[in-house]
Symmetry: none
Subunit: 246 residues, 2 copies
DNA sequence: TGTTATTAGTCATCATACAACATGATTTGG
DNA sequence: CCAAATCATGTTGTATGATGACTAATAACA
């Protein structure tokens, strides 16, 4: 059932959202340059095959996002990303399991490399920090998700051990994204076999630590990829279970 | 004469904007607490004396601003402010070669995975975009660094082909970081053997494209890692050369 | 009791119409 | 001929009515 078309929202949230993503991409990809006038509402209606309501809502989103500016009677124009460019994931885009999965993919990308670099570069002090975080992780039964959870701390320590502050910076930002309030939590799946689940996760963490400890970069990458890949599969299963089940 | 506009700095751009301001105030002032359900569209139509169109556009703005979230068939709810957290690399921290190297490591992390995912998921249309970017890359002799450069476009297209918008978002952000004013560009090293250099880089890009074209995920990852790893080495060599030399 | 149908409330989308604004072409007055 | 007023056209802003889709709660039924 879990076809590998992992991210593509098979059920679009709403039409306007699709338009927003499409046009955002066309802006970021350079198809629409700064100052360009994007197609008129009528044209967008024609090309996307939706009503003007949807087009206007999409443009409304783009306006609020600061991507475009509309002038009455003339058109809407792409405006330059004002000075403080930054990377930001809109909180409103974190409501579904699919959204969490998309961010998790980013984490996989980041943390596999971070684990590899940490294995090469970790100092003894950083290794000690990691060891402490791992111990807290094994003792504490608290579920992941909390920003202060031992799980998060462990992963953050790995990012710190790379010596590249950007890894830790991005990690700590992504950490705030995984919290969301919806019922997406891992609570459901952990119920059926909590002990087995915890034992397995702990083992995965231990593998990562061991690889970093013995400075085995490739093994660290592999262990981290396995760990987060499993997390992704658990989320997916919880997703389909929630959709099919209750 | 715009003096009459000067009297009232609050010029109503459009009705929706007025609604946005009104409701934003009511949210921030605490009149509407987190989790509260704000009035239905019909009620807002009645209280503000505008049409549903305007109400919906206002709500659309609030959604994009991350203030509220709408659930189909239920209502729209106020959600907690995520404190405007974002990931940002200070431009002032991008002056030395080491800083560029640190960002490049992040790119390696990102793009390696992006190449792998793109190989799995790329559509035919995305492949065509990639092919075009590659062609422009080979023809054009312009040096990298510019945000509109073929090199950047090629890499961005790969990020887009993952289907995960966050990859493209982060990529385009990191792209702005590599621009800055430092003369650390690859110009120096390219001088000694420019032809050989270009031939090699083109070959690396071609390898990446080929792997994505035949949906070979592992090969795509490897090719991208090789490519960016080589870029890193070139940068390092340019660094030590610059330090020792002039 | 438990399950299914129905219903009401709400948001999502569509279609149409008209008003407000901007711009360039056309007409008109000198 | 020139310049100003007017008109024509295109675009965004707003209004209105209708229909579809989703959710939760209630009613009907076995």
């Amino acid at each position: 059932m879990q076809n590998d078309a992992a991210i593509r929202p098979k059920r679009p949230r709403n039409l306007a959202h699709q338009l927003v993503e499409g046009m955002s991409e066309r802006i970021k990809s350079g198809a629409l340059k700064v100052g360009d006038k994007l197609p008129t509402e009528s044209e967008l209606v024609a090309t996307y095959g939706v009503s003007r309501t949807v087009v206007r809502e999409a443009i409304s989103h783009l306006q609020a996002a600061g991507l475009v500016e509309t002038q009455h009677g003339i058109g809407t124009f792409v405006l330059e990303q004002s000075g403080g460019a930054n990377f930001r994931i809109d909180a409103s885009e974190m409501s579904t399991v699919m959204d969490v999965l998309a961010v998790l993919e980013l984490r996989i990308s980041l943390e596999t490399e971070a684990a590899g670099l940490a294995a090469q570069r970790r100092s003894e002090g950083q290794l000690e920090q990691l060891r402490r975080a791992l111990a807290a992780l094994i003792e504490n039964v608290a579920q992941a998700g909390d920003a202060a959870s031992p799980d998060y701390q462990f992963h953050l320590q790995i990012a710190l051990a790379t010596g590249n502050p950007h890894f830790a910076g991005l990690m700590s930002y992504l950490g705030t994204m995984v919290i969301p309030r919806n019922r997406v939590n891992t609570a459901r799946l952990a119920q059926e076999d909590r002990v087995e689940y915890l034992r397995r996760v702990n083992r995965e963490h231990q593998d990562i630590f061991d690889a970093i400890e013995r400075r085995d970069s490739d093994a660290a990458r592999a262990a981290m990829r396995t760990h987060l890949g499993n997390s992704r599969e658990r989320l997916k299963r919880a997703h389909v279970a929630a959709e099919a089940g209750s």
